[in-house]
Structures are given as C-alpha cells and as structure tokens.
C-alpha cells in the first residue's frame, strides 16, 4: 500500500493521531506501572508496618513465628556488604578505567574493555555458584582466617572467621559492580580534552602528575556518580549475596561473621513464608526500594550535572 492510497481513503490523518495516542499511552504505562509498584507493595506490607511501628526498621528481633519483625540486622548487612564492595571496587575501577584511557596501547584496550564488559554480562546466579564452590575455599576462607589471625585485635576483623560472611558477600559484590563503575568512569575520562593532557606534559608533568592534575579533577563528579550507581546495584543484588552472606540474623561488628542482607532474606525465606511473614518480606522490599531510589536519584543528578558541564 502506498501512502497515496491511505490518504485517498482519509485514513492517514486518523492513523496518525491513533499512532500518537498509542505512543503516548506506552509512555504513560511506564509511569502507571511504577506508581502501582509502590502502591501495591506498600499496601500489602501496611499491616506489618502498622503492627511493628518504628521497631520494623529500628528493631533487630526477627522471629516470624512470634510475629516479631525487626529488620535492622538486614539493613545493617546490606549497608556493610555494599560498603565493603565499594572499598574494593572503586580503586580497582579507577585503576582499570585509567589504564584503558591513559596507559593502554590501542590493541589491548579493545580486549580488556571487552573482558570487563563480559564480567558485567555474567548473571548473578553464576557469580553465586562460582563464589560458593570456587572462591570460598580458594580465597574467601583463607583470607578471612588470615585477617582474623593477624588483625583480630581490630573489632571488625574479630574471629571466629567465616568465608560465608559480610566479607565474602562484599567481595563477590565488588567483582560484580567493578565493570559498571569502570565503564562509567571510562566514559568520564574519555571526555577530558587531549589539549589538557598535553598542557600538563608541556609543564613537565610525569604521567601520574598529568592524570592527577588534568584527568582526575575533571572527572570527579562523574566518578562519584558512577560510584553511587554501583552502590545502587550492590544494595539490590540478591542471589549471589544470598548464597555467600551466611544467613544469620544478627548485627555483628566483625565483617568476618555471617549476617544477612535485605535482598537475600527475601530470596531465602520467601518460599517457606506465609501470612504476616510474607507481608514483612514485602515490607523489607519497600524499604530497600526507597533506599535504592534515593541513591540512584543522587547519582543521576551528579552524572547529569557532569554531562552538562
């Protein structure tokens, strides 16, 4: 059918507005789904929010059989594992992205960039499987033992040491978010004009001095934004953490002891939960959602500000 045959029948104009309406509706649907997401989950969790009050987020007593739902231990676990992940992943990502933009020869850049992107594509259940059966005996447990033996006098490294712990989950999270932070940092460093680099060299800077004074200052906002996006991902990561965190409901200052995270408790307990227990798990989801939304919006604001400059 040619355009003319449509116009002759007078279909063209109607089709045009129909198409416009369809497109607008698809867009509006996204807004509706998101709104309904918040409403539906909050409504389901509301009875538990009501019966627990502030102790839902401030209490660490979690015993579904007694109707007590305090999720502080899970919030604590989520925050601690994410912080461990960032402490490991941010320096690594900075190193890799600086290597890719400043150091790497052209050929190597493609290969290493590809390998890092590959890490980002690996599903989290595979990280979990690999973490439990390979990384745990090979690296996590020995490292945890080493830390508690030699640095055990520091409260965060107090024994007894377990590889299935905040530390273990943090390490696997670090491996998972490194490619995300790396690719964003790389984009940021790529936007630094070459003239700036050459100016630094012309003043006699070494390579590192050039990076510190020409590349890093320009990328600061972008790097912080990338870190926060990585944090947003780490907070919500479920399966790999569920397999590696040790599944123990308590607040422990030692990162080498087993704990629990918000997302992990949802995945692990959902299948045997009933009634208020399920509502409480949904409530954990609502709190987690709120936390990630705040972090992500902050990150977007930073990245946007950076893009506009």
């Amino acid at each position: 059918m040619s355009a003319r045959s449509w116009q002759r029948k007078g279909v063209g104009r109607k089709a045009d507005s129909l198409f416009a309406i369809m497109a607008a509706l698809s867009g509006v649907l996204i807004l509706l789904v998101l709104a309904y997401m918040v409403i539906s989950t909050t409504a389901t969790a509301l009875p538990v929010f009501g019966s627990q009050g502030i102790s839902f987020i401030a209490g660490s007593e979690w015993s579904p059989s007694n109707g007590q739902f305090g999720i502080l231990a899970f919030i604590y676990g989520t925050v601690v594992t994410s912080v461990i992940a960032l402490v490991i992943a941010v320096p690594l990502s900075l190193g890799v992205s600086l290597f890719l933009t400043e150091y790497s020869p052209r050929r190597l850049r493609g290969i290493i960039g590809y390998a890092v992107d590959l890490l980002a594509a690996v599903p989290s259940v595979i990280y979990g499987l690999w973490g439990v059966f390979i990384l745990l005996p090979l690296f996590l447990q020995p490292t945890a033992d080493f830390l508690s033996d030699n640095l055990g006098f520091i409260p965060i490294f107090k024994g007894p040491a377990s590889g299935l712990s905040y530390f273990g989950a943090g390490v696997i999270l670090a491996i998972m978010i490194t490619p995300i932070i790396t690719s964003l940092c790389r984009e940021v460093f790529d936007t630094v004009p070459n003239a700036d680099r050459q100016a630094a060299y012309a003043l006699g800077a070494t390579k590192w001095e050039m990076i510190r004074q020409a590349v890093l200052p320009r990328g600061r906002a972008g790097v912080v934004g990338a870190t926060m996006l990585g944090l947003g991902r780490a907070l919500g990561e479920t399966i790999a953490v569920a397999l590696l965190i040790g599944s123990s409901v308590k607040v422990d200052t030692s990162v080498l002891s087993p704990g629990y995270s918000m997302a992990a408790v949802i995945a692990n307990q959902f299948q045997e939960a009933t009634g208020d227990h399920i509502r409480a798990l949904v409530g954990i989801g609502v709190v987690l959602f709120g936390l990630t939304i705040i972090i992500n919006m902050g990150a977007r604001a930073l990245v946007w500000r950076f893009n506009r400059v």
């Binding site: 116009q7 369809m22 497109a23 990502s93 190193g95 594509a121 690996v122 595979i126 990630t292």
Partner: protein
Amino acid sequence: MDRWAGSRIVPGVCLRECKPARRRVWRNRRNTTLVLLAVGLTLIPVIMILYQITARGIATMDWEFLTSSMPFSFRREGGGFLNGLVGTAIMVGLASAISIPLGILAAVYIVEYGKRNWLAKLIRFFSDVMAGVPSVFVGLFVYTALVIQFGFGALMGAASLAIIMLPIIVRSTEEMLKLVPHELKDASYALGAAKWQTIMRVILPSAAPGISTGVMLAVGRAAGETAPLILTALGSYQLTAKLWGAPMSSLTLAIFDGARNPFAAGQARAWAGALELLIIVLVFTVVARVVASRSRISR
C-alpha cells in the same frame, strides 16, 4: 625499559611544588604499577569464571542433560535442565513480546512526539528510576499485584522480566532515535508521508541496528535474572508449557537450587546449567556488540 615512567620528566620544572625529580619518577612508577595491578586483579575473576564454568560444566554436559528434565531428588545423577531451558525460553519470549513494542513506542513518544514537554521529561526520568529498581523488588511487586490473585506461573514470571527489560529498551531506543539524521525525516515529509508513516518506514528502520542491540542486551539480562522469578514463577521439577496455574522453572532457578543443595549430583547439574546459561547470555551480548559496531561503521 619502562617506557611509561620517567621519559617525560623535564628536570627543574614542576607543577605545584618543586620536589626532587627522583621522587616524582618513583611516585609515577609506583602508580603505574598500581594501575597495572588493578587491571590484573580485575582480569583474574573473568578468566577464572570462564575457565571453571566451562571445565566443570562440560563434565556433566551431554545429550541427556540437554534433553531431559530434573530428577525428583538432588541425590540422583543424570537428568538435565530441559524444564529450566524451556521455562527460560517461554518467559523471556513472553517478556520480549510485551516489553519490546511498549519500550520502542515509549521511546518514539519521548523523541518524536514529546520533544520537550513535561510528560516526555517525566517518562524519561521515571524510566531511569525504573532501571535502578532492584530486580527482587520487581518480583515482590508482581507477587502482590498478580500472584496473590492468580497463583504462580509463567505469565507472572514474564511480567516481572518485562518490567526489568522495559527501561533498558526505552533508554537504548531513545539514544538511537536521536541519532537519525534530520534530512531523512524531511525527505519523507517532503514526499507527502504522514508522521506515523515516517516513523514506521523511515525512522525506525534506519535506527533498527541500534535498537536491536539494546533489545538483545535486555534479553540477555532477562535470561540471567533469578530473584524476581523466585517470587513469581517459583520453580518446578517438571517440564511444563502451561502459561498460568502451574509454577514454572527457569535455568537460573534450577542453578540456584543446585547451588544451595549439599549433594554432588545436584551441584554437578548446576555447573552444567551455568555453562548453558553463560553461553546463552554471552551469545546475546556478543551479537549485540557486533550489531552495534557494524551499525557504527555504516553511519
């Protein structure tokens, strides 16, 4: 010897404060080493994961694994993840059927119709927000909205995967539509085409390679999701093609169960399943990249 360090030093010229040149050279070398160390540390897990998943997966991977379903006990050897593979295919297929047209249309609205009005900005902003929602929360949402009423099943799993795919498709399509040159649109309008004809016949086809890249990345992401499916499809030992009313398995759910159980036979199946899943996900990711690089050349 070290062509990165030291070669660019001009003695006596400093940026901020004058320090002995030797110290600056040393610091430069140290930081070069640290950067290389970071690259090495990041590459170790890539190599380990690829190698170990392949090595351990191949040990159990055979024709029987690909063509039969799980035995009812983790202890028993043999059997495979056919139930999971079929479940993944059905749910990702359904999710694609929902999210691809919706996502592309929403992006068309943002770029071609909304221009700079508040609704387009709102949709764009909230699709970004949606991309940051933890996948386990999407699962909880579908549980409260659909599963409580209609029970676990493939359709519910597909709904959660569609919600996860949607923002990825919207954002990538949007980027691609912005790149379509104005001359093409003008030429189409000059020939008397209506706006929707221009979109369907000129704009979308010329952005197609880029759009399909985003779509494939979204499919790869959906195929690897586990957490939302625990809450919506639940998982099952049996091979089923029922879209609702019965729980359905997926490759990821089967691997997760295998990783959590203490029996060697179940774990061996999990490794083979991981290899199967990794191949599927990587094929989508690699093809997406190839398509993307091709389209960049032609542009």
